[in-house]
């Protein structure tokens, strides 16, 4: 589904998050100058490896962390950098999060009914006996039927997939407009991942929700998303329609991710990786493009400042000077990487 309402559900403009490390005022920039938007009813896939900053984005949007800079708009309304107290609670009603590990994100001591009922009570969406009825309806909605039976259970009585459904029901209870799903299937068994992804897709379609779907799995991102954004070392490096970004990646890092994904029809030794090495230390980033040290196509220009985002096709942008006809004409500086 493509966004029809021109006001995006979420807009991030130049959002940056720095964390201080150690005692001497040193910082690392986990999210660097991030600009992106999620349309109403849209699923934006956010792909990256650990340390890329993709989970930090979710924590910034839910305000588990305050951003260090930049602007954020929810449904067209400016969200102040520092939100506290009542304002923060009201804001959070609109933005809910689904965590990765359903074994960690449910308090083992509370019943399912308590956990799912809390957002209803906190935000005054239901009162008294009405809470139980709504909890049961929510649980039914996420496929835990009959909901009333599940409400009395505690997390240890449920399987991983069932727990994740409870987590989804809790997120829905607040009646949010935006859901941030942080690797919601990677802790689950392979056989139930699709069910959870399908449930999320159904909810987006039926409830008109918008979703940020964070994952390290390209194939999962392609399955879920309308558009996909790729992050590397805190930077947005590519964004565009899902089929374009996966089908024809324009940033060498996205190409590397694609070549590293399992391909049953392929052959392990025959597929060559586009690049070697590992994600750089965030405290020690190269001066230009963060991928330059690993990139087989790197030019001298790559280490002279961060490349801009180049628009390759409508809505498909990549942060790579290969798309600049002048800079791309420079000779590659370390083509050897591709060979090893």
């Amino acid at each position: 589904m493509l966004p029809t309402d021109p006001t995006p559900a979420l807009e991030l403009q130049n959002v940056t998050k720095r964390f201080s490390v150690g005692r001497r005022g040193a910082t690392v920039t986990a999210v660097n100058d991030m600009t992106l938007s999620i349309g109403r009813g849209e699923v934006l896939g956010l792909v990256g490896e650990s340390g890329s900053g993709k989970s930090t984005i979710a924590r910034l949007v839910t305000r588990l962390h305050d951003p260090s800079g930049g602007e954020m708009r929810l449904d067209g309304r400016e969200v102040p950098v520092r939100l506290r107290g009542r304002e923060l609670r009201q804001f959070r009603r609109n933005v809910q999060m689904i965590f990765q590990d359903p074994f960690a994100s449910l308090n083992p001591l509370h019943t399912v009914g308590y956990t799912v009922g809390r957002p209803l009570r906190i935000h005054g969406l239901a009162r008294g006996g009405d809470v139980n009825a709504q909890v049961a309806a929510l649980l039914d909605r996420v496929g835990l039927t009959p909901g009333a039976d599940y409400a009395a259970k505690r997390p240890h009585e449920l399987s991983g997939g069932q727990r994740q459904r409870v987590v989804i029901a809790r997120a829905l209870a607040a009646q949010p407009t935006l859901i941030l799903a942080d690797e919601p299937t990677s802790a689950l068994d392979v056989s139930i991942r699709l069910d959870i992804m399908n449930l999320l897709l159904d909810l987006v379609a039926q409830e008109g929700l918008s979703m940020l779907f964070i994952t390290h799995d390209l194939a999962g991102a392609r399955y879920m998303s309308d558009r996909i954004a790729v992050m590397y070392a805190g930077h947005l490096v590519e964004i565009g329609p899902a089929s374009d970004v996966i089908g024809d990646p324009q940033m060498p890092y996205t190409q590397l991710l694609k070549s590293a994904a399992p391909k049953p029809e392929g052959n392990l030794t025959a597929t060559s990786l586009e690049a070697r090495g590992e994600v750089p230390d965030l405290a020690n980033l190269p001066p230009g493009c963060p991928f330059e040290p690993r990139c087989p196509y790197a030019r001298a220009a790559c280490s002279q400042g961060l490349p801009q985002m180049y628009e390759i096709a409508p809505g498909h942008l990549a942060r790579c000077i290969l798309h600049d006809p002048v800079l791309a004409a420079q000779p590659p500086i370390h083509p050897v990487i591709a060979a090893t």
Partner: protein, 630 residues
Amino acid sequence: MNGALTILRRSPRATAGAVIVLIMLLMAALAPALTSYSPTSQEYGPWIIPGREHLLGTTALGQDVWAQILYGARKTLLIGLMAGLIATLIGTTVGLAGAYFGGRVEDVLNVITNVFLVLPGLPLLIIVSAFVRGAGVWSIILVIAFTGWAWGARVIRSQALALRNRDFVQAAIVSGERPGRIVFAEMLPNMAGLIAANFFSTSLYAVLSEAGLAFLGFGDVSSVTWGTMLYWAQARGALLQGAWWWIAAPGLLIALLGTAFALLNFGIDEVTNPKIVHSVGATKVLRRRKKEREAPATTGTPALLAIRDLDAGYATPQGQVRAVRDVGLDIAPGEFVGLAGESGCGKSTLAFAATRLLDAPGAVFGGQSVLAGQDLLDLSSEQLRHVRWKDYSMVFQASMNILNPVIKVREQVYDAMQAHGITDKAALDARATELFRLVGIRESYLDAYPHQLSGGMKQRVVIAIALALEPKLVVMDEPTTALDVVVQRQILQEIDAVRRRLGISILFITHDLSLLVEMSDRIAIMYAGEIIEEAPAKALYADPKHPYTLKMMNAFPPLDGPRERREGIPGRPPPLSAELPGCPFFDRCPSRMPGKCDKHKPASVDLSPGHRVACFLHSDAVKEYPDAAD
């Protein structure tokens, strides 16, 4: 209060402690019924030895010791429990507030806590109690609580800090919960065990402190407590007079009460922080079944590892859990065999059992695991030690955590080799360098400490160690699951290159079937403890026979082709404790045949060379059970 009952049920230590405290509470409560003497009356005659009249004798002043013990229990217990309670309250509040609010509040509270921690307890007690001398029981309680809360504050703070970062607390914050509710409804209940343990240890401290203070003559020595009894006994030279009972009775009771608190504390710790008991030896082999039966699919060459009729699992209080059920699997020399299945299907248990690495309560119930002609299940622990690392080695998902953080990588690579007799420095060095080159790490990292390496590098080091003695077989259980995709692929390519160069066999276990298809020569699919399909990798991918295999193949969204909706596998696997008469996949199977699949177990049948499947869609053969009694 269910938690308290659980602790008592599971821990005999806690039960013993609770019984002792309960008896003492009863003694205090029923003191008038248990003795007709007054504890303060001095009319019974001095130095009477224990006997009929005076159960525990009398004091120099002619007081009855038994009566003093009973009435003294009241104040001693009151001081112990109340001081423990108050100290725990202060400690919990300070600890939680510091952890929750953070920032300046935490800094200030930390300073205060640390000051109280370094102040020596007893001297402080003496000074403070000197000022409130004679002020009665409550001032003693307050003084003790005041000096005893800091340790608890610190422990509770660190636990609360850990809890605060747990996902469920974060989730509650995102839900919009207020701070009070986060602390009292989300965090505090999860710390109940710790707080209770803290209460008992401060109560113990309080009882001992009161005794110490009273013995030194501080506090209110005119009141009767077990501590003041000791004071008077000492002051009146009880031991010089041979009146051992006057000292022994309160002394032993204080020791007993201390023991009771310590037992309760220990019991709570035991139940809330279960430690994994590591068995030092090899996996227990409970019963052997020697009968040779249907050999599993082979590639024609004699197997390097032949697993036959392997039954293994866990002995639990609820009974035996058979996680591996009658499994046969062959691995040829140089072959890469993939073992796939959902979590809890028994794939790891199979690998651990076949290599005798399954820790108690795990055990092998029957079968064979023959490596190069030698049944590993027949070997003694001593014999196993010779075989491990040399003939076969293992790499697990969390293997990188086996690296000792304070020892250089080089020494740890040497270790396995030295254990098997390679001691020549030059040979060790040459081999280590060679191994690092094999797994794609610069040899300069040999002199690094593990924390200087990334997760991917550490896992490479562990793989290098596993290859050190050129074993014939390496068992790898999800060795790259915790790593990022790019690093994962780099390592897998290196593993593949090494095994081709050295001709070693690999048993590779993972839930990622799409990865296995790409890497393996042959794949076995496990479900509910059984191998339900086994085939050359490409044949399995092109033409999966078992409905479960087909469903698993479809469970991975593709990177190309049309974007269409796919369905997962509804339901969940049966519990491994269940004994089902039919096919374990019956409940979830789209092609099930009621009356057949749920009544009989399909036998594993070769459909084409090397491709065997246990499913009635392909053969009517019913699995025969050997007589388990033979």
